[in-house]
Symmetry: C2
Subunit: 118 residues, 2 copies
DNA sequence: CCACTATATAACAATATGGTTATGAATAAG
DNA sequence: CTTATTCATAACCATATTGTTATATAGTGG
């Protein structure tokens, strides 16, 4: 069974977008409400084009949407994308717990007279 | 207020580690129990050194621990690191909800005769 | 049309990432 | 000691990421 590399592009993009503290800070800021690119850029010691691209990364990951408002391009949190990663986290957690539950069962079923490994 | 880039190295590493489908698949596999590097590598169409480095990334992120077992280096899921990202996700979600709750309150408080922004 | 503001894009450089092959080191076993 | 197995590391290459500066584009207002 050979696994394919492009299994989940969406998760790739979301996790990758979150793997940068500047972008996480931008998301945090957006929890206070929509903001234009300039306002978003202000707190950071970084050029405007750099922030522009960070926002594009967030947009491509589906974490942020934008709409024009006069001369501004307002950024808005799109928390749906964040919801995408929770099922994955839960799957891991569930499988993990399940595995150890099963192990517990096995251990419980073993009489103390015998010992297994793992 | 200038934000510093190295705010949370730990989250950087965890999200970054999760941003690769091969590494996510390795974590999935490990929910079935500990495995050696060779066994982990088997399903993937990739060289052993490549897998070795993926595992190291997971280890550096705190998602996997290892211990020798004879000639094997057994990999074990360390789900604690995954727990680290949940508070962050919740913070975003909470602030987001809070924001809109506050907005709702503001909107509710406004008599239809007057309008304010945000 | 002109000028101003907000933002995007292009071109570039430095560094990071992810893969490969070749090889080294540690343990187990004959 | 020798050999086989498991795994790590080194050297290398291609591509991606992230920042910079310079410039282009799009609305807004006079």
């Amino acid at each position: 069974m050979v696994m394919n590399k492009s299994s989940d592009l969406s998760l790739d993009r979301i996790f990758s977008a979150l793997a940068d503290s500047t972008r996480r800070a931008i998301l945090m800021k957006l929890t206070n409400g929509d903001e234009g690119v300039m306002d978003l850029a202000a707190p950071f010691d970084m050029s405007q084009p750099a922030i522009s691209r960070h926002i594009k990364v967030l947009e491509n990951a589906g974490l942020v949407t934008r709409h024009r408002q006069g001369t501004h391009r307002m950024c808005r949190l799109a928390p749906d994308a964040l919801d995408e990663i929770e099922p994955w986290l839960n799957m891991i957690a569930d499988r993990y717990r399940n595995k150890y539950d099963r192990l517990d069962t096995v251990l419980a079923a073993m009489t103390p007279t015998k010992q297994g490994d793992e």
